[in-house]
């Protein structure tokens, strides 16, 4: 629901039902609301059956890449002597995204249940929930919920009395955006610098501690119990458009809207309605200028594209962007696009792990060139230079951080060229001092 606002009638509320309901945080409160029934059911099924129903449901990863979840689980090898691991990605660091934080704050047991089912399906005895270090409140709430789940016998050597061993631990991050990238996350759990690894080998073959591993996002995992309980057909039916995108998705709407918050709608929901209706629309006297629909790493949409975009994996691609993590950043006509794009570039320059030259140098130089333009010292050829740099930064590195820096720059120059030109031609007052 539109937490912290009242639910909107056009929302389809599944994962966010108990946002704001502190009573749902405890084991008692959670079971009273039907919690752990799905885990009980899953533990009574064959492991392959659990994977099959998730595969059939069409659930795709909610962290950004949109990879089919059931298929990812099916990549895990048959259980042999090697331990298997599940890593839950709760490193939510993508600018514009704040859904996993609310899931953990309000429904920690929903996440434990989702992890436990996934863990069972892939024959893993241990789950590491990787929570970013800045999330002090979710860290505390999740730890309390885990302690309770152990005390009630949900987890441990005899989980739910079924003889299955399910252990779950929190691993606290320490301030690094890149650890949200799955291979960097595994390195971080192993006590290393969070540098992404070259793939292949893929995590299902060689993951954390060199063992078969699956990494899933928080929102993906909390959808699993609903699918196990209600079935794949029921989940698939929750889609307004393409059968390739199913279920509900949480959108974190932020920036220049009246009611920023998390809104849950079915796949295929119109982005324009999300921004103008559910999130309360623009502030008084302001009009929409641009929108980033999937977290800061995806291309920017202009007003027309925003108002005609359908929110699912295919709908976003059609508009030249991506659904990403569902972090919807809204810009009204007061926004200085050049400055905000510089801020995004600065973010990526700060967060680059610096392994790959294209990223380490590219993100830093992109930022400096944008700062130069903002200082009134740019030239029109700087725009070509930025595009050339962006080209060198796309598809050439170990992970996609560098591509993510290029995306807003390329789409920004393409769609808001006049604003760049105004700084360069001296028609706009410089806003930065460059030494």
């Amino acid at each position: 629901m539109g937490y912290p606002h009242e639910p909107h009638p056009n929302e389809t509320i599944l994962l966010s039902r108990y946002f704001g309901d502190a009573d749902a945080r405890s084991y008692k409160g959670w079971t009273k609301r039907g919690g752990y029934k799905a885990l009980e059911k899953a533990l009574g099924m064959e492991r392959s059956e659990v994977t099959e129903v998730v595969k059939e449901s069409g659930l795709r990863g909610r962290g950004g890449a949109g990879f089919p979840t059931g298929l990812k689980w099916a990549f895990m090898p048959e259980k042999n002597s090697k331990p298997h691991y599940l890593c839950c990605n709760a490193d939510e660091s993508e600018p514009g995204t704040f859904k996993d934080r609310e899931i953990m704050r309000w429904t920690p047991h929903a996440l434990i249940e989702g992890c436990a089912i996934a863990q069972y399906a892939i024959s893993a005895e241990i789950t590491y929930i990787y929570i970013r270090g800045e999330f002090t409140e979710p860290l505390k709430i999740m730890q309390e919920a885990l302690d309770e789940a152990y005390a009630k016998g949900v987890l441990g050597n005899n989980a739910m009395g079924t003889g299955n061993k399910l252990d779950m631990y929190i691993h606290r991050g320490a301030g690094a955006y890149i650890c949200g990238e799955e291979t960097a996350m595994m390195n971080s759990i192993e006590g290393k610098r969070g540098n992404p690894r070259i793939k292949p080998p893929f995590p299902a073959a060689y993951g954390v501690f060199g063992m078969p591993t699956t990494i899933n996002n928080v929102e993906t995992l909390v959808a699993v119990p609903h699918i196990v309980l209600e079935g794949a057909e029921w989940y698939k039916a929750m889609s307004l458009s393409n059968p390739k995108s199913t279920g509900t998705k949480l959108y974190s709407v932020c920036g220049h809207v009246k009611q920023p918050g998390n809104y849950e709608v079915t796949m295929g929901f119109p982005l324009g309605e999300l921004v103008h209706e559910l999130a309360g629309g623009m502030r008084d006297g302001r009009t929409l200028k641009a929108c980033i629909p999937g977290g800061s790493s995806v291309p920017i949409l202009n007003k027309e594209e925003t108002e005609s975009c359908l929110l699912d994996y295919e709908g976003c691609v059609e508009k030249g962007t991506m659904l990403g993590s569902g972090g919807v950043i809204v810009f009204d006509d007061s926004a200085d696009m050049v400055y905000q794009i510089m801020r995004l570039a600065r973010f990526y320059a700060h967060e680059s792990c610096a392994q790959c030259t294209q990223c380490r140098e590219g993100t830093a130089w992109t930022t400096r060139i944008l700062e130069r333009i903002l200082a009134g010292k740019g030239a029109m050829k700087d725009l070509d230079l930025l595009l050339n740099l962006a080209d060198q930064m796309t598809g050439k590195t170990i992970c996609v951080l560098s591509d993510s820096c290029a995306a807003p720059v390329v789409s920004g120059i393409e769609k808001f060229r006049d604003e760049f030109a105004a700084y360069i031609n001296g028609k706009r007052e410089p806003v930065m001092v460059q030494d």
Binding site: P4, P83, E92, S93, E94, P95, G96, T97, F98, D100, R101, I126, R132, G133, E134, F135, T136, E137, D167, Y169, H171, R172, G173, A174, G175, A176, Y177, S188, I189, E190, G191, K192, R193, G194, F209, S252, V253, C254, G255, H256, P260, G261, N262, S296, G327, I329, F331, A335, Q340, R343, L344, F347, H350, E351, C353
Partner: protein, 169 residues
């Protein structure tokens, strides 16, 4: 940075027990490094060269390796910081909602000369950070372990007073 006082080991008594308990969660000692560094920071407020050497010894790693890891992660302090460590998000969504005004107000109210500097009374260190993951509650500010939402420039005198007087808890 070196610790100027005579170094007292961190991993004795209760902190050592806490570390040993944590190590049971992982198949390798090395995996205990991030949690071990958190324990050091909780106990000492920052991570000195001496603490790096001690952590390395406890986990059977080299000091150079541990230093490499410490410097990768921005939340580990390599210098002593003020009594209250203030982290303000200024990434795009918060920036659109006035985060830079929040930073200016914090610097003014705390008396910190610049970002990263500690105030003359030793009470505050103010930092600009990238996305805190609470963009719908702009501007989020993390003071020590307290996560503040919807902070606007006008609220800062009261917030700073509360933390300066130590009445935050």
């Amino acid at each position: 940075m070196k610790d100027t006082a005579e170094y007292q080991p961190v991993f004795i008594g209760e902190p050592r027990e806490r570390l040993d308990e944590t190590l049971k969660k992982y198949p390798t000692k090395q995996a205990g490094l991030l949690p071990a560094l958190w324990i050091v920071q909780e106990e000492r407020g920052w991570i000195s060269d001496e603490a790096i050497a001690e952590t390395a010894q406890v986990l059977r790693l080299t000091a150079a390796y541990v230093k490499g890891v410490v410097t990768f992660y921005t939340m580990y302090h390599r210098h002593p910081v003020g009594e209250n460590f203030v982290q303000i998000c200024t990434t795009t969504p918060c920036n659109l909602c006035g985060a830079e005004g929040v930073v200016e107000a914090f610097l003014r109210e705390t008396g910190c000369e610049s970002l990263g500097a500690t105030s003359p009374d030793g009470k505050f260190t103010v930092f600009e950070v990238e996305c805190l993951g609470a963009c719908g509650f702009a501007t989020p500010v993390l003071i020590n372990d307290d996560f503040l939402e919807d902070v606007t420039a006008d609220k800062i005198p009261a917030i700073v007073k509360k933390y300066r007087d130590g009445t935050s808890g």
